[in-house]
């Protein structure tokens, strides 16, 4: 009885907080409890450090999730990003279950709290590089034009600024996708096999840039990859 009351109070506080201070709201911890994607529930490895386990991810820390193909790493990110909901168990953001989130909540979260670089980038080929970045940045006005330009320069593609995205190489698109992910505030940055098409020099540069941004924002990195090929420092490594 008192438990229920406490839960109701906490939810109420939580949501009133969400409504009033959405842009200020930060996701501090992501907790997973005994989760597994429905499609691989039968075949998922019992030795996985993600599936069927309780784990909590804290804002500011860096996590590497190493996974073989087909073990469901993209699914994991899809769950955290609210794109898919077909899993058993529960995932919570600061105690609030993701199942209770409405479309509206996800819009806010995707604009303010979680940034994801998809494996397929999901950029818009008919827009220029700059327009692709602007489209995201206009939502919150988080970065100045100057800062965005600086990032393009750092990653070596400033001259591609006004070229339609469909005319640039896959590796260059990968860099654009990464910069776009920076064009918003976030508490957790999710990278799914992010730099597969870049040479080592570029990988180093991009890892530096990301690390700096993370530090500046006090945000977390969650990186899914086949191995550990990149130049980040991790607080924790999990095998999926």
């Amino acid at each position: 009885m008192f438990d229920d009351y406490a839960v109701v109070c906490r939810l109420f506080l939580h949501y009133s907080f969400l409504i009033i201070h959405y842009s200020l709201y930060k996701v501090q911890t992501i907790e997973i409890h005994d989760i597994v994607p429905d499609p691989i529930a039968e075949v998922a490895s019992k030795t996985s450090e993600v599936w069927f386990k309780d784990h909590s991810f804290t804002r500011g820390k860096h996590y590497l999730i190493s996974a073989e193909s087909g073990t469901g790493k993209s699914s994991f990110f899809d769950f955290l990003y609210g794109r898919r909901h077909d899993y058993q168990g529960s995932i919570t953001f600061d105690g609030a279950s993701l199942h209770s989130f409405k479309v509206r909540d996800w819009n806010k979260i995707r604009q303010h709290n979680i940034s994801l670089v998809f494996q397929g980038f999901r950029l818009f080929p008919e827009l220029t590089v700059w327009e692709n970045l602007q489209l995201k940045n206009h939502q919150t006005g988080y970065l100045s034009d100057q800062k965005m330009m600086q990032m393009l320069e750092t990653l070596g593609i400033p001259e591609k600024r006004d070229i339609p995205l469909r005319f640039i190489s896959y590796g260059q698109q990968q860099r654009v996708a990464l910069i776009r992910a920076m064009c918003q505030p976030f508490d957790f940055l999710l990278l799914d096999e992010p730099f597969s098409h870049l040479d080592e020099v570029n990988q180093r540069i991009i890892c530096n840039l990301v690390s700096e941004e993370l530090k500046e924002r006090g945000a977390s990195l969650m990186l899914c990859s086949l191995g550990d090929p990149y130049f980040f420092e991790y607080d924790e490594k999990l095998n999926m």
Partner: protein, 395 residues
């Protein structure tokens, strides 16, 4: 802006143009028929004019027997009450005929010495008359009798009698200024009255004086009261077939000019409604076309909308460019349609000018308002539909 640049891809200009053209057509037809109906409203409902309210004047057929006075054309009290009890009769009254002699005379500007004629008077209750003249009053003190004559009499005079006799033609106004001397005689008495023609009627083919004067004069100069030989009837519905059957079976005649005018009026009304219906159907079909076209457009941009929603764009934000597109199109359609309606209204007003007077002030806000209603309704359906379709993609 960027969103628009992204989402406008795959917009089929042809389909939009089709929508604009079809809606424009439909809306213009609807508004024009509304305006037309509105313009004819005074004609439909007024007490004067070509389509005056539907009254019937009924009399018995004149046959040889009646000429020989073996049977009478008068309606007995029994026959009157029988007619009155018919279900199609709303109200009726008999004509009161004068049972005295009437002689009218005048002098037209001294040019022609005296123009005089024997006349007859009849009267019906004022409520059946389509005249609203303040002159239509009689009281015993002021020796003045107002007269109403059928408009056709004036026509007869102006185009038949006057030219052949070298007399001036008279307008309704000038004839109203003409003073007449009326001499009544009978019952061993006579008296002279002043008189003027105060109005014209399309409805009753007789020379009318006020009912109260008639009652008074019949007592003074009359030679016994007579039963009416004509009755005026206001039916509930002039196109009721029972009406014709009843009168035919009793050998009554209908002075059917008004009946046919009533039919013409209701036919015109039906015609306008049908045209309006066609307009509504075209508009609805155009709406259907637009809904399908929007559906197709949103399906074609499926991937983009999905990506945008993964970037955290709300359904409202993504739907907005399409909703604006539709609203802008609808506003353009409305404006063009209003221009077209007022243009065509000018055309028909000009062509009807000779037969029907259309009041220019009647260019109603009405049809503008209706246009706004329709366009708002169309836009609302479109806006809702776009929102729904974009939302579907998110699922």
């Amino acid at each position: 802006m960027l969103l628009w640049k992204l989402l406008r891809k795959n917009i089929a200009a042809g389909q939009l143009l089709g929508y604009v053209a079809a809606t424009l057509l439909g809306l213009t037809i609807v508004l024009l028929s509304l305006q037309f109906y509105n313009d004819l409203q005074p004609v439909f409902s007024a007490k004067e004019g070509v389509f005056a309210r539907d009254y019937l004047v009924v009399s018995k057929k004149v046959s040889v027997l009646k000429t020989l006075k073996i049977s009478s054309t008068e309606f007995s009290k029994n026959e009157m009450s029988q007619i009155e009890s018919q279900p199609f009769v709303k109200r009726m009254a008999g004509f009161t005929a004068a049972t005295f002699r009437v002689y009218a005379s005048t002098a037209i500007s001294g040019k022609v010495a005296n123009f005089g004629t024997m006349l007859f008077f009849e009267s019906v209750p004022d409520t059946f008359l389509d005249i609203n003249s303040t002159d239509w009053r009689w009281n015993q003190k002021n020796n003045f009798i107002p007269i109403i004559i059928p408009r056709s009499y004036l026509t007869l005079y102006n185009f038949g009698f006057a030219p052949s006799q070298g007399l001036p033609q008279l307008s309704e106004k000038t004839i109203g200024l003409l003073n007449l001397n009326i001499e009544l005689s009978g019952n061993g008495k006579d008296a002279i009255f002043q008189s003027r023609i105060v109005g014209f009627t399309d409805r009753i083919n007789s020379i009318l004086v006020p009912q109260d004067f008639m009652e008074w004069a019949n007592v003074q100069f009359g030679t016994g009261s007579a039963q009416p030989s004509r009755v005026i009837i206001e039916p509930h519905n002039v196109s009721d077939p029972k009406l014709g059957e009843y009168f035919a079976s009793h050998q009554y005649e209908i002075a059917n000019d008004k009946a046919s005018a009533g039919e013409a009026s209701s036919f015109l009304r039906t015609l306008i409604l049908i045209v309006m219906g066609v307009g509504v159907i075209i508009t609805l079909l155009a709406l259907g076309l637009m809904l399908l076209s929007i559906n197709l457009l949103i399906q074609k941009n499926h991937a983009k909308i999905e990506n945008l929603s993964l970037m955290g764009f709300s359904t409202e934000t993504m739907a907005k460019p399409y909703q604006w597109l539709v609203v802008v199109l609808n506003v353009i359609i409305l404006l063009v349609s209003l221009v077209l309606v007022s243009y065509f209204r000018g055309k028909y007003t000009a062509s009807f000018n000779t037969s029907i007077h259309i009041d220019d002030d009647n260019l109603a806000w009405n049809y503008i308002l209706w246009g706004v209603y329709i366009v708002v309704a169309l836009s609302a359906v479109n806006i809702g539909w776009i929102y729904m379709k974009v939302k579907e993609i998110r699922k």
